[in-house]
């Protein structure tokens, strides 16, 4: 089938049968998607409804007397604020370490040709495929040996490492798309390497960096297993762990509060995602899979 034939056909067929077929197809697609969408929304409906229902159970139902009592009950320093602050520290720390390390690593990988680049990038790629849950047992052992257990900075560095391969991969792809000519012009004007990186390259890949930051931040924010094993003091635990222990203790009783707690904990990443997804196309695929 050649493009030519297609073009010919286009002029003939389009107005009649094809359009009706397209309308039918569209209707079918719409209804199929509606069903799928509903299936995906249903489990979330419970979360939303139960959070405003002081007498919530596991049933999804319209609250008889909707109120924010559940939110009020969990809005305490010990239960909510401290864990959220810890989550913020962990996630922001992880994201910053990632950004610094990834930008540094990406620069020579993107700018210089070297025999070292290819094996390194492949090693990085294999690194992305290491199941993090599998290395938690040895990481715990390592932390004991190095006396890093219960240390926030060490946990940050470890969490950063788990996302680092992906971050380097993404950052390099974004950096590749910044044309080299601009930099060369700056060098001509006498700017130093770090200066061009700071003044030319980074500003141009601002959006890309935003995507990497949010990607890493979200991973760290949602991470439960790593802080659960590596941080022991209650005062250092992030919200993911405190939500879990709240569930362990109140899961059978305070469903509504659990839902409210979960929502308050989820809002920051939902907002972040929305902001970034709106600003730039947050289609992970090209950057991940390229």
């Amino acid at each position: 089938m050649t493009v030519f034939r297609a073009a010919q056909a286009l002029t003939v067929k389009r107005p009649t049968a094809a359009r009706a077929g397209a309308r039918r197809a569209r209707l079918a697609a719409n209804s199929a998607l509606a069903v799928i969408g509903l299936c995906f929304v249903l489990p979330l409906a419970w979360l939303l409804l139960a959070s405003v229902d002081p007498h919530a159970g596991y049933q999804t139902r319209w609250p008889a007397s909707p109120s924010f009592a559940n939110f009020a009950a969990v809005l305490t320093p010990e239960l909510l604020f401290q864990p959220l602050v810890n989550s913020l520290l962990l996630s922001a720390g992880t994201a910053i370490v990632n950004m610094v390390a990834a930008v540094l690593a990406a620069y020579p990988l993107s700018r210089y040709r070297s025999r070292f680049n290819k094996p390194f990038m492949y090693a990085i790629l294999i690194g992305t495929s290491l199941p993090v849950t599998a290395i938690m047992v040895p990481v715990y052992g390592l932390f004991v040996q190095l006396q890093l257990l219960d240390s926030m900075p060490a946990t940050i560095f470890f969490m950063a490492t788990t996302t680092l391969p992906m971050a380097i991969w993404m950052t390099r792809n974004f950096m590749d798309s910044v044309p080299l000519e601009l930099e060369e012009a700056a060098w001509m004007d006498g700017a130093s390497g770090p200066a061009t990186l700071r003044k030319i390259v980074l500003p141009l890949m601002r959006q890309g960096l935003g995507v990497v930051f949010v990607f890493v931040f979200m991973q760290a924010w949602g991470n439960f297993f790593v802080p659960f094993i590596l941080l022991l003091t209650t005062a250092k635990q992030p919200a993911s762990v405190s939500v879990f222990s709240f569930f362990g203790q109140h899961g059978a009783i305070a469903y509504g509060q659990l839902a409210a707690f979960s929502i308050l904990y989820s809002v920051p990443v939902l907002v972040l995602y929305t902001v970034v997804a709106r600003g730039s196309k947050f289609e992970l695929s090209p950057s991940i899979a390229a």
Binding site: M1, A6, A9, A22, A25, R26, N30, A32, L33, A34, G37, F40, V41, P43, L44, W46, L47, A50, Q59, T60, V100, A101, L104, A105, P108, Y112, S114, F116, Y122, L125, S129, L130, P131, V132, T133, A134, I135, V137, P138, V139, Y140, L142, F157, T161, L164, I168, M218, G222, F225, S240, V243, F244, F247, S262, S266, V269, L270, S285, I288, A289
Partner: protein, 297 residues
């Protein structure tokens, strides 16, 4: 002076690569060292408590031999295969592709509704998603309410069909990734190609099977590889929903490694299981790299 020039060049090359060093250090300390430690510890009886905690002994391949004789390990390995196969390779992958294809045909409002719904489950923190799924499948949860509307009396899913439940939950949670990958891939399929096929009278599924899929096969392979690896590592979702039960009916390898190492304090055996998982990950990783290489040539 050719010699000093050469030395300068070498020094230069070294300086150029210097910025990569922090990353290498981090990866070496937190990735390579634990992996090496894992293989090392898997040949000992290291433990959280008891005499072995004080003086771990070298036990050779005992831990690996025990795996083969263990009733739980083979079951657990099989459940992991089922979990990955059903929830990632079939579930997330096909559903993600279907949604992406359907989105190409449906209206904008519907697309953004479905897109938001699917992505929401993915963006939520893992533990929250796990609770939502737990509530959804529990005895008096939403699923049974919906079934009740159709006059079906639902079971206690988490207990009666634990594997099916965690598989569905993981599809719900992870389909967004495949959907995003396929949407991006499909958006790059040249319009005239599919329109040409349309005009040739090819039916929808024929176009998909013979034209679109071959074009995006690279994305399909990449996606399969990545979701396989992600699903292999799923722990929190299962831990919250079934904790591996009842009677180990949903104990995948990460759950088993956690139980052995941390709940029973048998670090040696736990790391042996972890080492097997790491090996599986590496095999997939290597296959993935080969695939990308093949793709480029």
């Amino acid at each position: 002076m050719p010699d000093s020039t050469r030395r300068r060049a070498i020094k230069h090359r070294f300086l150029r690569l210097l910025p990569v060093v922090p990353s290498i250090l981090l990866l070496a300390l937190f990735f390579l060292a634990p992996v090496a430690w894992s293989f090392g510890a898997s040949f000992t009886d290291a433990a959280l408590t008891g005499k072995a905690a004080l003086h771990p002994q070298w036990v050779g391949v005992d831990n690996y031999a025990r795996m083969l004789g263990d009733a739980v390990f083979p079951l657990s390995a099989w459940l992991t295969v089922v979990f990955v196969g059903a929830s990632a390779i079939l579930g997330q992958n096909l559903l993600g592709l279907a949604i992406a294809v359907l989105m190409g045909k449906a209206g904008g409002t519907m697309n953004s509704f479905v897109g938001t719904a699917v992505v929401a489950a993915w963006v939520l923190p893992e533990i929250v998603a796990a609770f939502a799924a737990y509530a959804y499948f529990s005895q008096d949860g939403t699923l049974n309410q919906v079934l009740g509307m159709f006059g079906v009396h639902g079971a206690n899913w988490l207990y009666a069909l634990p594997m099916a439940t965690i598989i569905l939950a993981n599809i719900w949670r992870g389909t967004a990734f495949s959907m995003l990958v396929y949407r991006a891939a499909l958006s790059e399929v040249p319009r005239d190609v599919s329109e040409a096929a349309l005009m040739d009278g090819a039916r929808g599924w024929q176009r998909l099977a013979y034209i679109t899929l071959p074009i995006i096969r690279g994305s399909i392979a990449t996606n399969l590889m990545l979701i396989t690896l992600q699903t292999l590592a799923v722990f929190t979702l299962i831990w919250v929903m079934t904790a591996g039960g009842p009677s180990n009916a949903s104990t995948t390898l990460p759950v088993l490694a956690y139980q052995e190492a941390f709940k029973l304090g048998d670090i040696g055996y736990g790391t042996a299981i972890a080492s097997v998982l790491i090996l599986i990950g590496l095999v997939f990783g290597a296959a993935y790299v080969r695939l990308l290489r093949g793709e480029k040539q």
